[in-house]
């Protein structure tokens, strides 16, 4: 077990964005997080990566309590993430963007070694040809790959992927899914949020479902998909859904 989330609660004023959520992530698995919009998925990521301090609960990473540590320390311990809304460093080149990840990540490399790592990672995600372009000039799918490259360059043990497939066309989705599989093969544990059902069902070992900040289901993709609670969260009344599917 590499990550353990215990009874995390995060409030914004009167809104409980994450409500008493607990789960564990095993080493080298892909754990998917799904749930309707506003379910608290990204907030949960922000708690794990240190952007928000939870009101209650603990985050244990690699046997160490990291709750409330500043984000840069968590990054250096080996948790990298991508952002749902991409955050490229526009006026820096693609390579420099990735070097930031390598320089300040888990290995805290010097500039020369970081450059080598950046080149390798850019080849891995298929952005090497664009290495010297300013990041602001990339299109959205390329920016998503850049997010991923930056996170990988820090040589994380655990990577949090926040909707890396959203906004991609079917071919790009296929390519990205292959990249994610390769990341897992290289020994990195993956925790990913995704709305694209067929992709996350196919790629995840396990899935947890959030709704209104609470965990409502956890298990293998096929079990989760048939869980009445999950269907209700997505579609409303389960009996109605059953009727519809029977017809």
């Amino acid at each position: 077990m590499i990550l353990k989330v215990e009874n995390i609660t995060k409030r914004f004023g009167g809104l409980v964005a994450v409500n008493n959520v607990s789960f564990e992530v095993n080493e080298k698995e892909i754990l998917g997080i799904i749930g309707p919009n506003g379910a608290g998925k990204t907030t949960l990521f922000n708690v794990i990566s240190g952007i928000y301090k939870p009101e209650k609960g603990k985050v244990i990473f690699d046997g160490k309590d990291i709750t409330g540590l500043p984000p840069f320390k968590i990054a250096r311990l080996g948790i990298a993430r991508t952002h749902q809304i991409v955050k490229p460093l526009n006026e820096l080149t693609v390579k420099e963007n990735v070097m930031v990840g390598a320089c300040f990540g888990r290995e805290y490399l010097d500039l020369d070694s970081a450059e080598k790592v950046a080149e390798d990672v850019l080849k891995f995600v298929g952005l090497y040809e664009k290495a010297d372009l300013l990041a602001g000039k990339l299109n959205v799918p390329e920016k998503k790959r850049l997010e991923l490259a930056r996170a990988l360059a820090s040589k994380p043990k655990l990577i949090l992927l926040d909707e890396v497939l959203a906004g991609l066309n079917p071919v790009e989705v296929m390519e990205m899914v292959e990249v994610i599989k390769k990341i897992r093969e290289s020994g990195v544990t993956i925790l990913m949020i995704e709305h694209l059902m067929h992709a996350i069902m196919q790629i995840s070992d396990r899935i947890i479902v959030l709704d209104y900040g609470q965990k409502i289901a956890e298990g293998k993709p096929e079990d989760v998909a048939n869980d009445p609670k999950v269907i209700e969260a997505y579609l409303g009344d389960p009996e109605l859904v059953l009727k519809l599917t029977k017809r």
Partner: protein, 317 residues
């Protein structure tokens, strides 16, 4: 290294001309140009690299000026150690201040820095021990330790040249370092930088302290040469705006940019200030030019050139 060596070469050439010709008027002009370059390059570290608009940056120049002036006047310290102390003191003030105000972002930070400048000015104005509103004048004997006023002025000139060269070298190495990469990551997206592992508050504070170090030294030299210091000239907000103007005109975030901006600005100012028609308007005209730059050439002269002629990128940092 190429881009650095030609910048230093240019500075040495500019700096050597008055030494060779012994032209006093030219020396005064070059002294001001060098001072502008050094101030603009210093500001560029926080404004250009880190993306924090320090609007009241002149406060560190004033603080440095006062520290050195009092050290020389009251304790008979030599200008060189006084200058170094002044720089370090300014950097220390910036460091402590940075811990508080660098939590603010964007316009809020800019406004806070103006407030700091005005607050320090008000403090000094009301502090009789440091001369109050009237300021302090050197005892004429101060310069005799340097072999007379003329020698002291030449010494100031050499020191200014040395500090300017040092600022440019430091700027260049910061830009090429891991520290610089971290700063630029902060400039582009602070939230992304911190999740990538950049210790943003430490980096910002260090950048702010570094960008205050040299203005402290420059203030020390300027007021040593000037022979008097008063709050109005030490904490003159217009000078702060001029610094921003030079950085924006030349191209923020580059090493060459602030240098070019400072030289061009000094020329514009020199031209306007002596012309009968514009002498009262030079700040207004600079303001209009600044507006045009921000609108049409947001990355300044050097940014524009680098965009248009990519082949130059290797030689122009």
């Amino acid at each position: 290294m190429k881009s650095l060596s030609w910048l230093i070469g240019l500075l040495i050439v500019i700096g050597a001309i008055p030494m060779i010709t012994h032209d006093v008027t030219l020396r005064e002009t070059v002294f001001i140009i060098l001072m502008y370059i050094a101030l603009a390059e210093s500001l560029n570290i926080i404004l250009g690299y880190t993306g924090y608009v320090s609007f009241g940056h002149i406060v560190f120049y004033g603080i440095g000026g006062y520290v050195a002036f009092l050290m020389i006047q009251n304790y008979g310290l030599n200008i060189i150690p006084a200058m170094i102390l002044a720089g370090l003191f300014s950097a220390l003030v910036a460091y402590c201040l940075g811990l508080a105000i660098l939590r603010l972002r964007g316009a809020y930070f800019a406004i806070a820095t103006i407030g700091v400048n005005e607050a320090v000015k008000a403090l000094i104005t009301n502090l009789e021990q440091v001369g109050g509103a009237e300021g302090i004048y050197f005892n004429i004997k101060v310069y005799s330790a340097y072999g007379g006023a003329e020698h002291a002025i030449w010494l100031s000139y050499y020191l200014m040249l040395a500090v300017t060269i040092a600022v440019v070298i430091v700027s260049w190495f910061v830009k090429k370092s891991k520290f610089g990469l971290g700063l630029m990551a902060i400039r582009e997206d602070e939230d992304a930088a911190i999740t990538l592992g950049v210790n943003t508050s430490k980096y910002k504070t260090l950048a702010y302290a570094l960008s205050a170090l040299f203005p402290g030294m420059i203030g020390a030299i300027f007021f040593f040469k000037n022979g008097n210091i008063e709050p109005e000239s030490a904490f003159h907000l217009t000078k702060s705006i001029e610094m921003i103007f030079m950085v924006m005109l030349g191209g923020f975030g580059t090493v060459t940019g602030p240098m070019i901006g400072a030289i061009v600005y000094e020329r514009i100012r020199g031209f306007l200030i002596v012309s009968e028609m514009f002498k009262a308007l030079h700040i207004a005209i600079s303001g209009i030019i600044l507006l045009l730059i921000v609108l049409f050439m947001p990355r300044g002269i050097i940014g524009f050139v680098r965009d248009k002629i990519p082949a130059l990128r290797r030689f122009v940092e």
